[in-house]
């Protein structure tokens, strides 16, 4: 671009610097989280004082457990980092976006967290699947911790 502001890394000519040598350039807009939008950066704890419904054998069932208005009139980009209450340091303790949060007596009874963004809301749901007879996963008493970013930018 022929106009604007560039700030390059130390010792590098800003006029000749490549994109990754620039700390600031109007040619590469910054990712934007609005500091005045209270939902743009949240640490969300969801504690289960009730058990989401179990799925009948051979099916899955999805239950909305939390949602909030994000304040935009379009689908914004969201990032989610989930700390899994059933994970160990070496198995599923953290994941990004959705994933399995609990299993039952076999891996065919599972519960996942599903995170969806619409033009007005961010929605958090638990889906329980039950595909071989056994004990369903139990979330009661556990807490899901989720870091959520809601960007200004459109998804």
């Amino acid at each position: 671009m022929d106009y604007g502001i560039k700030v390059s890394d130390e010792g590098i000519n800003a006029l000749e610097a490549t994109g990754q040598e620039l700390f600031l350039s109007i040619g590469t807009p910054q990712a934007k989280l609005d500091t005045t939008n209270s939902v743009s950066f949240q640490n969300i704890s969801i504690t289960f004082v009730n058990e989401p419904p179990d799925a009948p054998l051979g099916t899955s069932v999805t239950t909305l457990i939390y949602e909030f208005d994000h304040g935009y009139t379009y689908k914004p980009q969201i990032w989610n980092l989930v700390e899994n209450p059933s994970g160990t340091p070496f198995a599923y303790q953290y994941f990004q976006e959705g994933g399995i949060v609990m299993i039952g007596s076999t891996t065919t009874q599972w519960a996942t967290i599903d995170i969806e963004v619409t033009a007005s809301k961010v929605k958090y749901s638990i889906t329980k699947g039950n595909y071989i007879a056994g004990t369903p996963p139990v979330l009661l008493g556990s807490t899901l911790k989720i870091r959520t970013y809601v960007f200004v930018d459109e998804a």
Binding site: G4, I5, V7, E10, T18, G19, Q20, L22, F23, L24, I26, T28, P29, Q30, A31, K32, L33, D34, T35, T36, S38, V39, F41, Q42, N43, I44, S45, I46, T47, F48, V49, N50, P52, I65, Y66, K75, Q77, I78, W79, L81, G87, P89, F90, A91, Y92, Q93, Y94, F95, Q96, E97, G98, G99, E116, T118, R147, Y149, V152, D153, E154, A155
Partner: protein
């Protein structure tokens, strides 16, 4: 992170000259992530880019965020409609920046001063933050580190098991950052990859049962990625931190 050159905008009543990073609403020395590729694409296709390096890239489609394979020339887009966002962040070059503790109290934005740069053709008085290249009302996640295969080695987990061929990064105390792990493969190794003759970077899912896979060992406060031993030729661990404003703490019950 403070440097002797650049642009700094302080919060009201703080000195831009003497203030620390958390006293600023903007500093050009912050390694904030910026968007180098922003395109809507219908896949399957290999989207060309001219960055000259394999970028950290996300795909947004159907409300989900996906992590595509990338090379220094292309981004692999699967079947469907996606918004491709590639950041100005090279997966193949080591970097490390100091950690700055996040602020303890909220506040700081004042609409009467700051810095804003509007996109070409947009109104400088717009209240739609999408219209701006930069606006001191907004902040971005920042780069903490990029660790590459030059840092590969053994990682001793908190359960005393040694993981060979790992790239690890010990997080700032008490802080779990965003971690994106990649394995890089020489041309001809991957089946169904981009195949443009360049090293191809494949995202390592968190705690996946298949390689490459990325973990956070919370006990040791360490993130690490493992690749199939002897298979991957390159690897990368990207660590991002939160922007420097206070998160809303939300506690809900179901």
């Amino acid at each position: 992170m403070a440097q002797d050159f650049g642009i700094k905008i302080s919060k009201p009543r703080y000195s831009a000259i003497d203030g620390g990073d958390i006293d600023m609403v903007f500093s050009s020395s912050w390694p904030s992530i910026s968007i180098a590729v922003d395109e809507t694409v219908t896949g399957p296709t290999n989207l060309s880019h001219d960055l000259g390096f394999p970028p950290l890239t996300f795909l947004f489609g159907g409300g989900l965020r996906l992590f595509p394979n990338v090379t220094k020339d292309h981004i692999q887009v699967p079947s469907g409609d996606y918004h491709v966002i590639a950041y100005n962040l090279d997966l193949s070059v080591e970097k490390e920046y100091p950690f700055v503790n996040p602020p303890a109290i909220a506040g700081g934005y004042d609409s009467d001063y700051g810095i804003k740069i509007v996109k070409e053709g947009k109104d400088i008085d717009s209240t739609d933050m999408r219209d701006f290249v930069l606006h001191s009302r907004c902040q971005a996640p920042q780069v903490l580190a990029v660790k590459t295969e030059t840092s590969i080695g053994d990682y001793v987990r908190s359960d005393s098991v040694t993981i060979n061929n790992a790239i690890s990064y010990t997080n700032p105390q008490g802080y779990v950052p965003w971690v994106f792990g990649y394995a890089g493969f020489n041309p001809g190794v991957l089946f169904g990859g981009i195949g443009d003759g360049n090293v191809e970077y494949v995202f390592g899912l968190y705690a996946s049962q298949a390689y490459p896979r990325t973990f956070i060992d919370k006990t040791n406060n360490t993130a690490y990625i493992t690749t199939s031993p002897g298979n991957a030729d390159y690897a990368s661990l990207v660590i991002l931190r939160d922007p420097l404003f206070v998160a809303a703490e939300v506690a809900v019950t179901y």
